[in-house]
């Protein structure tokens, strides 16, 4: 066990799987010689060769469509989008081909698409988005959003093993900022099982990705005010751990749903609706959503700060719920 960054954990998990299973290969832009835009595959081409760490042309459609074909022929492709934002160029291949192939034609499509996502460093409208809600609406896909280094590795291994198309949203703001103990050996973290990031009694925060840490800071502030906050890290939004969320909602009776993606139609709406349907009688306050406003992600730091939910936004929301 060693302390590793979130980025190193992803890189280690991927390398371990490539060493273990020769069917696993990487296809993406600049993943070879350059080692990927964020250096997740740095040194991979030297170890695995140019036909397992394949530099693709600027062709997201050919990357995801190509991985789909290769998966149907028995390989285990891991595609890299340089930024999650560019997945829009491959929407058709995920949603039209890969997601529906098992249902209609009986042929599984075991692919992983790695998606460096999220904002916080002036990436602007096209290098900062969190598009997981769009894909969480598509039956046939899985959407994974790890928050910790250990989960990033274990969920990546699960994603590669999974016989379905899995979108792996790795938050860029966590890449080098978050460090924690990560087991050296191979292990899996099951997709669809939430993690209790922090136990509490008074209010539940349901969140995932980088917002887990925003919630954690807010929870610490609330400790001083004698409000005990529980944080449920969903780890994946498709499938999502409804049972864990409902259990926590019933325990604290007050729920705040927090995400970095925009509010309207965001995945938080699904969570809030489910709690309202299934745990209404257990609630002592209306469910509260905190999310980005309905705008594209802005560039300038002052605007971006106003866009991404901040610790102060979450503490205000928690106080409101605590006092209700």
């Amino acid at each position: 066990m060693a302390e590793k960054t979130y980025l190193q954990a992803i890189s280690d998990g991927l390398r371990q799987e490539m060493r273990r299973d020769e069917r696993v290969f990487v296809l993406g832009e600049d993943v070879g010689v350059y080692g990927g835009a964020f250096k997740v595959t740095l040194g991979f081409q030297e170890e695995f060769g140019p036909w397992r760490v394949i530099d693709a042309p600027l062709s997201e459609t050919a990357i995801v469509g190509g991985c789909t074909g290769a998966a149907m022929m028995g390989l285990r492709p891991v595609a890299e989008m340089q930024f999650a934002d560019f997945i829009s160029c491959a929407w058709d291949h995920l949603v039209t081909v890969a997601a529906k192939q098992r249902f209609r034609a009986g042929t599984p499509v075991p692919i992983v698409v790695r998606l460096p996502s999220g904002g916080g460093f002036s990436g602007g409208p096209f290098h900062s988005q969190n598009p997981e809600s769009s894909f969480a609406h598509i039956p046939g896909l899985k959407c994974v959003c790890p928050a910790t280094p250990a989960d990033a590795k274990g969920l990546l291994v699960s994603a590669i093993e999974d016989p379905n198309p899995v979108l792996f949203f790795e938050h860029k703001h966590l890449y080098r900022r978050i460090k924690a103990e990560v087991p050296d050996e191979r292990y899996t973290v099951p997709i669809g099982k939430a993690r209790t990031h922090r136990e509490g009694e008074d209010v539940t925060v349901v969140t995932w990705g980088a917002m887990v840490y925003t919630a954690e800071e807010a929870a610490k502030e609330l400790d001083a005010e004698d409000v005990s906050v529980e944080i449920i890290d969903l780890r994946s939004v498709l499938p999502w751990d409804k049972a864990a969320v409902l259990e926590s909602a019933r325990k604290t009776s007050k729920v705040l749903v927090l995400h970095e993606d925009t509010r309207t139609g965001g995945f938080g709406a699904e969570i809030a609706a489910t709690i309202a349907e299934e745990a209404f009688e257990d609630l002592d306050a209306p469910i509260k959503r905190i999310a980005a406003p309905d705008t594209p992600v802005p560039f300038s730091p002052t605007l971006e700060k106003a866009f991404i939910p901040q610790v102060a936004d979450v503490t205000a929301g928690l106080r409101e719920l605590a006092e209700y």
Binding site: F25, L27, W51, R52, I54, A56, P57, S59, T61, A62, V64, G65, G66, C67, T68, G69, A70, A71, M72, M73, G74, L75, P77, D92, H93, T96, V97, K100, Q101, R102, F103, R104, A105, G106, T107, P108, V109, P110, P139, G140, K142, E161, P163, N164
Partner: protein, 347 residues
Amino acid sequence: MAVREAEPVGSLREVREAGLDREDLLGIYRNLLITRGIEERGHILYRQGKIPGSFYTGRGNEAAAVGVATAMGSDDVGAPLQRDMGVHVTRGVEPWRIFAQYMGRVDGPTRGRDGNVHMADHRFGLLAMVSHLPAMLPVAVGCALAFRIRGDKRVALGWFGEGSAARGDAHEAMNFAGVRRLPVVFICDNNQWAYSTPTHLGYAVEHLADRAAAYGFDGVVVDGTDALAVYREAKRAIEQARAGGGPTLIECQTLRMEGHAVHDDAFYVPKEMFEEWAKRDPLERFRTWLRENAEFDDDEEDELTAGVKKLLNEAIRRAEESPLPDPSTLLEGVYATPEDLETPHHK
């Protein structure tokens, strides 16, 4: 690297040189008859209200589809489209399962989950098309990439129409395949009409195969009503790909002899065009060739057509016995299980 226009096929000797014996030739004719027969019978079933949704045929494209599929090796794979029934037939998909597919029954290749020609039996190396043409081209390129990575001597075939050639998928697929010299053959069914859109509103080069040069590989234009010429060109391209020589783009020129689908009377296609191409009917053309070059006589022909008729009658009967899917099974199969990966392809 100018585009090459393929010569028509002449004598039986020439055909033998291309690797076909007399039995193969009769097999091609039989597959052509079955292909047209399935679509003609399907049309009747549609009018009888037995086929839900819409109904598409590939009338005029039978020789192009059968010719290419005949050239494929048994381990090769392909993603044929809605004008390529002949590929399914030639690869061995049983006609009764195709009728079951048309009628949304559980024994169709998609078990009623998808309709018309949106089907494939992966046991025969076929991949099920989607409506978003030419989305299967990047998928075929991905199959070829897998073959290249593993060093398999297999080839992938991707079909597209001249209409869908306008979409970006075609460019990305061909560009990537050209860059990596992957074992893939691109087959363009150029039937001259993308729904109601004529070719001059779809592309600005003389031949679609001209585009191959831009991707660094060969382009060939072939008369898609000539089953043997299509076979010869497909065989050459497939074996070149298998040997590591990279992709080829084959443009099969035909005319879509019916509307886009059964609801469309194709009023926008000039009558003279239909009359002209009717003279080049691919089945009649091949039948005449067999009679002139391969001693195909009345007795043999009668026996063959009677056999096909019996096959189709039996197929429809069996398909109609296949049940409609049980609504309680709706939720099944959205997600794959690890056991689903235990197929020949996924190993």
